[in-house]
C-alpha cells in the first residue's frame, strides 16, 4: 500500500517513539499537519518558531532524548535558526523538519522560499533536502541516528511540499550505514593506561568536567572515579550536576564567573583531567596563562575538540561513560593530601559570597539561595542569559545531572523560558523554574500562553533590576560606566502581564516577601507563575576573570 510523504513522516516518528513534537504551521507544511492531527504523540503549538525549537531543546536536555520540531518554509525556518545554533553549540540532539516550496520552484524566489540547507549548514550537525520520496524514511532514520549518537547535535530535514504530497510504499530501515560517520565510543586502552599512570603519579590533579559527562550519562562513573581517587572536581556551566556541588571535593563551576578556588586549583594544578569539556574561552581566559604548570588528559568523543584551544598530553577519544568505566577498573589513588588541604584553605579564605546588609532592594543572589532552599535543591533550573544565569549557576547547588538547563555556548537570551516548557514536558515529576532577567524574559514572553494552555506550572523568577545587567556590568567595569542602551526600566507590569495571559503573577519588593512568594508559587500546579523580584539594580556578578585575562586578574568584589 502506498502512503503519502506526510504520513511517512508521522509513521517514522512513531517508530522513533516520539512522545512530543513542537512546532508551528504554515502553507507548505499543511499536508504534514493534516496527518499530525491524528498522530498518537503530543503536539505543542508554540507562538513563535523560536519558542518551539528552544522547547524541543529543553525537552532533549532534560530527557536525553532527541527533541523534534516542525516549522514551515521561509520565515518559519529562519525563525528556527537561533534555536538550531543554540543546540549545535551545546551538543543537543534535535531533529528539525522544515517545509520547503515545491521542488519545481526551488531557486525561483518562490513565496516563502529560503535556502534552508544553505542557511543551517554551519549551525547543524547535518542537514538534508529531500529530493525523492523514496529517500524520506531513510533520511529520517539517519537523522535520529546522527542527532543522538557521537557528539549529539541538531539535524535539519527540509521537505518540499510535493514530497509530503507524493506517495510511495513505506519501509522504515532497521539500521543505518553511513560511510563517513562512525563515532568512536571505546577509548584506546593504551591511552587509558597511560592516563591512569599519569594520574597516580600526580600531586596536584584537578578534574575539569563538562557537558559531555551529562550527555553521555557518565555521572555515576564520574562519582566512582572521584571516590576512588579523591581528586577534586570543577565543572563547566553545562557540566553542573554531574558531580554533587554539596560534596567537599566539589570546587563548583570554573571560568569567568567560577569560584576562586576552582580557578586557583586549575592554575596551580600539575594535571588537568578534562572530561567532556572543550576549553571554551569563558573557561580558559587568556590562553597563554591558563594552567601553566599542568599536563592535560582530555577525554572527549569529538576528536576535533582535542588540542583545539589547549595542547593535550594524553588524548582519549571516546565516550566519557565508557572511558571512565574502564579507568575505574584500574585506577589507583594519587597521594594528594597536601593539595586537598591547600584547596580547602582557598575555599575557606575565598568562598562564594556577596554583600547583603539586609536593607534596601533585595539581593538577587539571596533569591537564588532561597529558591534552592525552598525546593530542597530538587528542581530543574533553567536560565536565561546574563547575570541571572551566572547567579543561578553560583548560588543554586546542583547535585543531579540534567537539573541545570542553560544556553552555554551561544548564550541565547530568551532561551530559558521555552526550554523550561520543554523540560517540564519531559519531567512532569519535577518542579521547573526559569531564573530570568527582565531583559531575557521579554525575548520569548509570547510562549507564556503555551504554558497556560497546557497547564505547565513553570515558575519564572524574574530578577528584575531594570537593566540588561551583564552588559551594564561590563560598561561599569570596562567602559567608563557609560550605560549606553542597557537601562530597560521602561518595562511592562509583569504581574498584570501574567494575569492577562491567565498565569499567576506575584510581585516581590521586600526581602521578607521572598520566601512566602516562592512558597506560594510552589503551591500552584495548574498554570505558570511569574514572580517579579525587584532586586538591587547595580549588583555585579563576582568573582570575575575579565575576558582575555588570567586568574591573577580576578576581580573579587566592587571596588569602593
Amino acid at each position: 500500500m502506498k502512503i503519502s510523504g506526510a504520513e511517512i513522516i508521522v509513521e517514522c516518528l512513531k517508530k522513533e517513539n516520539v512522545e512530543v513534537m513542537f512546532g508551528y504551521p504554515g502553507g507548505v507544511v499543511i499536508p504534514i499537519f493534516h496527518q499530525i492531527f491524528n498522530a498518537p504523540f503530543k503536539f505543542i503549538l508554540s507562538r513563535h518558531e523560536q519558542g518551539a525549537v528552544h522547547a524541543a531543546d529543553g525537552y532533549a536536555r532534560a530527557s536525553g532524548k532527541p527533541g523534534v520540531v516542525l516549522a514551515t518554509s521561509g520565515p518559519g525556518a529562519t525563525n528556527l535558526v537561533t534555536g538550531i545554533a543554540t543546540a549545535y553549540m551545546d551538543s543537543v540532539p534535535l531533529v528539525v523538519f522544515t517545509g520547503q516550496v515545491h521542488s519545481a520552484m526551488i531557486g525561483n524566489d518562490a513565496f516563502q522560499e529560503v535556502d534552508v540547507t544553505g542557511i543551517t549548514r554551519p549551525i547543524s550537525k547535518h542537514n538534508y533536502l529531500v529530493q525523492d520520496i523514496n529517500d524520506l524514511s531513510r533520511i529520517i532514520k539517519e537523522s535520529f541516528y546522527i542527532a543522538s549518537t557521537g557528539r549529539p547535535g541538531p539535524v535539519v530535514i527540509d521537505v518540499p511540499v510535493d514530497i509530503s504530497n507524493g506517495f510511495t510504499r513505506f519501509h522504515y530501515p532497521e539500521s543505518v550505514n553511513i560511510k563517513g560517520y562512525k563515532p568512536v565510543y571505546e577509548g584506546h586502552s593504551g591511552q587509558i593506561e597511560k592516563a591512569c599512570g599519569l594520574i597516580e603519579s600526580s600531586s596536584r590533579p584537578v578534574i575539569y568536567s563538562g557537558g559531555g559527562v551529562i550527555i553521555s550519562n557518565a555521572s555515576e562513573e564520574l562519582r566512582t572515579f572521584v571516590k576512588k581517587t579523591g581528586i577534586p572536581v570543577t565543572t563547566t556551566l553545562l557540566g553542573m550536576g554531574a558531580y554533587p556541588e554539596t560534596d567537599s571535593l566539589s570546587l563548583e563551576m570554573l571560568g569567568m564567573h567560577g569560584t576562586y578556588y576552582a580557578n586557583r586549583a586549575m592554575h596551580e594544578s600539575d594535571l588537568v583531567i578534562a572530561i567532556g569539556a572543550r576549553f571554551d574561552d569563558r573557561v580558559t581566559g587568556k590562553i597563554d596563562t591558563f594552567i601553566p604548570n599542568a599536563k592535560v588528559i582530555h577525554i572527549d568523543i569529538d576528536p576535533a575538540s582535542v588540542s583545539k584551544n589547549v595542547l593535550v598530553d594524553i588524548p582519549i577519544v571516546g565516550d566519557c561513560k565508557k572511558v571512565l568505566g574502564e579507568m575505574n577498573k584500574i585506577i589507583q589513588p594519587p597521594r594528594i593530601t597536601e593539595w586537598i588541604d591547600k584547596i580547602n584553605q582557598w575555599k575557606k579564605d575565598h568562598p562564594l559570597s556577596y554583600e547583603d546588609s539586609g536593607k534596601g532592594r533585595i539581593k538577587p543572589q539571596y533569591i537564588v539561595e532561597e529558591i534552592y532552599r525552598q525546593t530542597g535543591g530538587e528542581a530543574i533550573i533553567c536560565t536565561e542569559v546574563g547575570q541571572n544565569q551566572m547567579w543561578a549557576a553560583q548560588f543554586y547547588k546542583f547535585t543531579e545531572p540534567r537539573s541545570f538547563i542553560s544556553s552555554g555556548g551561544l548564550g541565547t537570551m530568551g532561551y530559558g523560558f521555552p526550554a523550561a516548557i520543554g523540560a517540564q514536558l519531559a519531567r512532569p515529576d519535577k518542579r521547573v523554574i526559569d531564573i530570568a532577567g527582565d531583559g531575557s524574559i521579554q525575548m520569548n514572553i509570547q510562549e507564556l500562553i503555551v504554558a497556560v494552555q497546557h497547564r505547565i506550572p513553570v515558575i519564572i523568577a524574574i530578577l528584575n533590576n531594570g537593566f540588561l545587567g551583564m552588559v551594564r556590568q561590563w560598561q561599569q567595569l570596562f567602559y567608563d560606566k557609560r550605560y549606553s542602551h542597557t537601562c530597560i526600566n521602561f518595562a511592562p507590569d509583569f504581574v498584570k502581564l501574567a494575569e492577562a495571559y491567565g498565569a499567576a503573577g506575584i510581585s516581590v519588593k521586600e526581602r521578607n516577601e521572598v520566601i512566602p512568594a516562592i512558597k506560594k508559587a510552589l503551591e500552584i500546579t495548574d498554570r505558570p507563575i511569574i514572580i517579579d523580584f525587584h532586586v538591587a539594580r547595580e549588583e555585579n556578578v563576582y568573582p570575575m576573570v575579565p575576558a582575555g585575562k588570567s586568574v591573577k586578574d580576578t576581580i573579587m568584589r566592587d571596588l569602593a
Binding site: 540547507t117 544553505g118 549548514r121 554551519p122 550537525k125 547535518h126 533536502l129 546522527i146 553511513i178 560511510k179 563517513g180 560517520y181 569529538d302 576528536p303 576535533a304 588540542s307 583545539k308
Partner: protein, 163 residues
Amino acid sequence: MKQYVISVKVENKFGVLARVAGLFSARGYNIDSLTVSTTEQDNISIMTIVVKGDDRVIEQVKKQLNKLIDVIKVTDHSDIPTVQMEIVIIKISAPQSKRAEIFQLGEIFRADIADISAKSITLGVKGEPEKIDNFIELLRPYGIKELMRTGRVSMVKETKDSK
C-alpha cells in the same frame, strides 16, 4: 604560511562541496585551488584542496572535515610522496617575429598548441605544478593575455609500505 594539499574523499552528493568549502571560508581562508571529480568507485568523489594557512588552524580544519557526515576520508598530501598534476591554458601575444621562440619553448614543455590567431598563440600544458609555474614564468616576457589553471589533482604514490 605553509601551503597545504588536502585530499578529501566524499560521498557524491549535492551540497558536499559547499560544506567543505564552508569550513575554509568560515575561517577567512582563501582556497588557492580546488578540484572535484569522480573516482574509480561509484558515488564517491574526491576533492584536492590547496590552501595556505596556519598549522593549528589547518589541523583543526582537517578534523572538522572529518566530522562532516558526507566526508569519508581526509588525507594530508602536503608532506608525503604524491603524484600531482594540473593543466594550464595560456594565451600569449605572439607577433610573427616571436613565434619560433614560443614554439621552441612549447616543445620543451611538451605543450599543445591549442589555438593560433594573427596576434596570439594559445598553449596548453599538463604536469606537476612546479613545471607549470616555470612555463608561465618563461612565457611572461611575451605578454600573457589570458591564463587559467585547473588546480591540481594529487594521488599518493605506491611505496614499499603501501598495501
